[in-house]
């Protein structure tokens, strides 16, 4: 058994290729001039430059947080490249103008950028290093008043919306990495769904880091106006490189009265090799605000990649009767580390939140769930249900749980359930005795374990997630 396991462990990360493309890159390092240069390249209005600089000045006074249960050498922020864009990047008249090399990259990743080829009915925005390279189905969506474009384009075409909502959920001063992102973010996706409109298709962004020593700092802002609803998916990959690369993104969601936002992530950044060399530092701030009554925000994440993951997609339940959900599968294998979870902050009355977290640890991976359920004094009748399950594969990995509960209202009801299990030789032998090989056996056990989360994912994503999970865990038992 162990021999086949060895070969599987060492299987290549198949998204690890590099696209050879000429790039417009700023020299490494960070100062106000770099921020001004990024802002100028993007022809931004004055308010945005000011907003960036304010965040930068705040960032200078902050220190990198070290409370997460992860270990890494300190990052030299002056060695990072803060802007890199494919040279050919110009405002695109149509998708046909996307650089063929970039188009090839996305084809290789299985993300078609040509609309007529898309069968799945998913609109895609593709972000390559620092910039968006193309958004599909734009016209079709525009007919319904839905704006789905790159963040840069939103700044040019809809500055009033950007100015109104940017930083309202994650302020520029929120935390160290959010502040850094606010100062240097180069692109990302922007979605606005007008009053009463249900977005007819899933919107999706595919993030790709290509250039070396480049940080990716994208910023996504999604606004669902009153009674609107939208389902948004994001996927991520990066080349296999020996250096660690920083990915410090910010995602802000705003759901107004009666609106629903469903945000799904399948994160598969390069995780580093078996000795822990290379890989992405995925330090991300994601937060949604249920700003009006009966709003609903649902996060679903499948985290299989990255050397280190550090993120807590959260919901601020401000509107009465609003709903927050967090469904998560986090997998660590090799030397990966993850410290992830959520915050549910109950401000409004009768607000409800659900947290389902499935942590899988294999190899020498370390997996931590960290969650905060906070019920504020005004939140009469608030309810939370938390279920936090860990699965261990092998003897070298670790699972940790840090649940924080802070209840300031007597009428609130908060439930927490937790379990830890281990995939044993006996479970695998049982399935092998029924004719399944080791890979399929592990994949079946793990997929069963994650079922409650996978059923929250849109269909195509669920299939991709299941496959990814299989690949991430191949050879983890031996």
């Amino acid at each position: 058994m162990s021999e086949s396991v060895e070969t599987l462990v060492n299987r290549e990360y198949k998204w690890g290729f590099v696209t050879d493309i000429e790039a417009d890159t700023l020299p490494p390092g960070l100062n106000e001039d770099v921020i001004r240069a990024i802002s100028a390249k993007k022809q931004e209005p004055a308010f945005l430059l000011e907003w960036r600089l304010k965040a930068y000045r705040g960032w200078l006074k902050m220190t990198e947080p070290h409370w997460p249960n992860v270990q890494y050498p300190s990052i030299d922020y002056q060695k990072i490249v803060y802007y890199s864009a494919p040279r050919t990047q110009k405002p695109l008249g149509s998708l046909d103008e996307v650089d063929p090399k970039i188009r090839e990259t996305y084809d290789k990743l299985g993300i078609p950028l040509t609309e007529q080829k898309i069968l799945s009915g998913v609109a895609v925005d593709a972000v390559f290093d620092s910039v968006s390279v193309g958004t599909t189905y734009k016209k079709h969506l525009a007919e319904m008043g839905i704006i789905f474009c790159s963040f840069s384009e939103a700044v040019r075409e809809h500055p009033e919306l950007v100015q109104k909502y940017l930083g309202t959920v994650v302020p520029g001063s929120d935390n160290f990495f959010a502040a850094l992102n606010s100062a240097v973010f180069s692109d990302g996706s922007f979605v606005y769904v007008p009053k009463g409109v249900r977005c007819p298709m899933d919107l999706s962004t595919y993030f790709r880091i290509n250039a070396q020593n480049t940080g990716q700092f994208e910023r996504t802002l999604i606004i669902a106006d009153e009674g609107a609803s939208v389902s948004y998916l994001e996927g991520c990959t990066a080349p296999r490189r020996d250096e660690n690369q920083l990915h410090a993104a910010v995602v802000e969601l705003v759901a107004l009265e009666g609106a629903t936002i469903k945000y799904s992530t399948v994160q598969n950044w390069y995780a580093g090799d078996e000795d822990g060399k290379g890989g992405i530092y995925n330090f991300v701030t994601k937060r949604g605000k249920c700003a009006g009554p009966r709003a609903k925000i649902s996060w679903t994440q499948v985290e299989t990649g990255s050397a280190i993951t550090w993120k807590y997609p959260s919901v601020i339940l401000q509107g009465d009767d609003s709903v927050g959900e967090f469904y998560s599968v986090a997998v660590v294998n090799g030397r990966q580390q993850a410290d992830t979870g959520t915050k549910m902050v109950h401000l409004g009355r009768n607000t409800r939140s659900t947290i389902v977290s499935k942590g899988i640890s294999a190899g020498a991976g370390q997996n931590s769930y960290r969650g905060l359920v906070k019920v504020m004094p005004r939140a009469d009748g608030a309810r939370n249900y938390t279920q936090c399950d860990s699965m261990l594969i092998g003897n070298r990995c670790g699972a940790h749980t840090f649940p924080y509960i802070d209840v300031q209202n007597r009428t609130a009801a908060v439930e927490h359930e937790a379990s830890t299990s281990k995939i044993g030789e006996d479970q695998i032998f049982y399935l092998k005795q029924r004719g399944l090989n080791t890979e399929n056996a592990i994949s079946m056990i793990v997929n069963g374990f994650c079922k409650e989360v996978f059923r929250e994912l849109p269909m195509e994503f669920a299939v991709e997630a299941q496959k990814l999970l299989g690949i991430s865990l191949e050879g983890s038992v031996g």
């Binding site: 032998f429 092998k432 005795q433 029924r434 399944l436 090989n437 409650e452």
Partner: protein, 256 residues
């Protein structure tokens, strides 16, 4: 015709501890063999070793099955070749429905034999027949594999799997332990219904009572890792009245 299973001078250990110390056993198609013996004699180990449990190392001898050497094969290859082990302690697989699990197993085995996979709809038809063997309705298929099953349900589920996978060689490892009279009857009836001239059963049991329902052609007594006595079904009755001591004495004498 070659025997279905032919075990010659089989030795197996866990770590440094030798548990099987030279087993010889021949099983032909159409036969039912009972393996009996006191606790710790190696009965369950024998079943697990035939199925290929990785905790055991074969240190000598051979296990031939349809003229193949089983000891070189992975557990899944043995299963695909028609070896089935009904577990003493079936494992639970939360979140995976019985239907999905059984269909996956069925299709893996079909694939290995170069047959086409069966789709979920055809599989439901096939299941309908098989469920009758264990007197179950279709609801059981939507429950997670063995999760929250009673001891009796788990054993019935093993027999259901056996009915679906149609093995040539079925090893029943203490399938009777922990069963009440009704469950015992259902399990035994299931086994009897599945008996064919081209398959064989090796039934590992501690007690005679199962053998009232599943009548063996041969009974073997295992003690300290060796078969110390073989006989017909009447041997089981003799053991029931006399216990194992008179035979374990023989085992010690042979060993010294």
């Amino acid at each position: 015709m070659a025997p279905l299973l032919e075990i010659k001078d089989l030795h197996a250990s866990v770590g440094d501890k030798e548990i099987l110390k030279g087993i010889n056993l021949t099983v032909n198609a159409g036969e039912v063999h009972a393996i009996m013996g006191p606790n710790g004699s190696g009965k369950s180990t024998l079943a697990q070793v035939i199925a290929g449990h990785p905790a055991y190392t074969v240190t000598g001898g051979e296990i031939r099955y349809l003229d193949q050497d089983l000891t070189d094969m992975d557990p899944e290859e043995r299963a695909q070749a028609g070896v089935f082990l009904a577990f003493q302690y079936p494992v639970e697989i939360p979140g995976v429905t019985n239907a999905y699990f059984l269909r996956s197993a069925y299709n893996e085995i079909r694939k290995a034999r170069g047959l086409e996979e069966v789709d979920p709809i055809d599989f439901v038809d096939l299941l309908e027949e098989k469920l009758k063997v264990v007197e179950w309705g279709p609801d059981i298929m939507q429950r997670a594999v063995n999760s929250g099953f009673s001891g009796g349900e788990k054993k019935r589920n093993e027999i259901l799997q056996m009915a679906v996978l149609e093995p040539k060689l079925a090893l029943l490892d203490e399938t009777d332990s922990g069963l009440d009279i009704d469950a015992l009857r259902i399990v035994a009836n299931g086994v009897n219904a599945l008996k064919r001239p081209d398959n064989a059963y090796v039934v590992v049991t501690h007690y005679q009572r199962l053998l009232n329902h599943i009548v063996p052609d041969f009974v073997h007594v295992l003690a300290d890792g060796q078969i110390v006595k073989s006989g017909g079904k009447e041997l089981a009755l003799e053991l029931e009245s006399k216990g194992y001591e008179w035979l374990t004495g023989v085992a010690e004498a042979t060993a010294s």
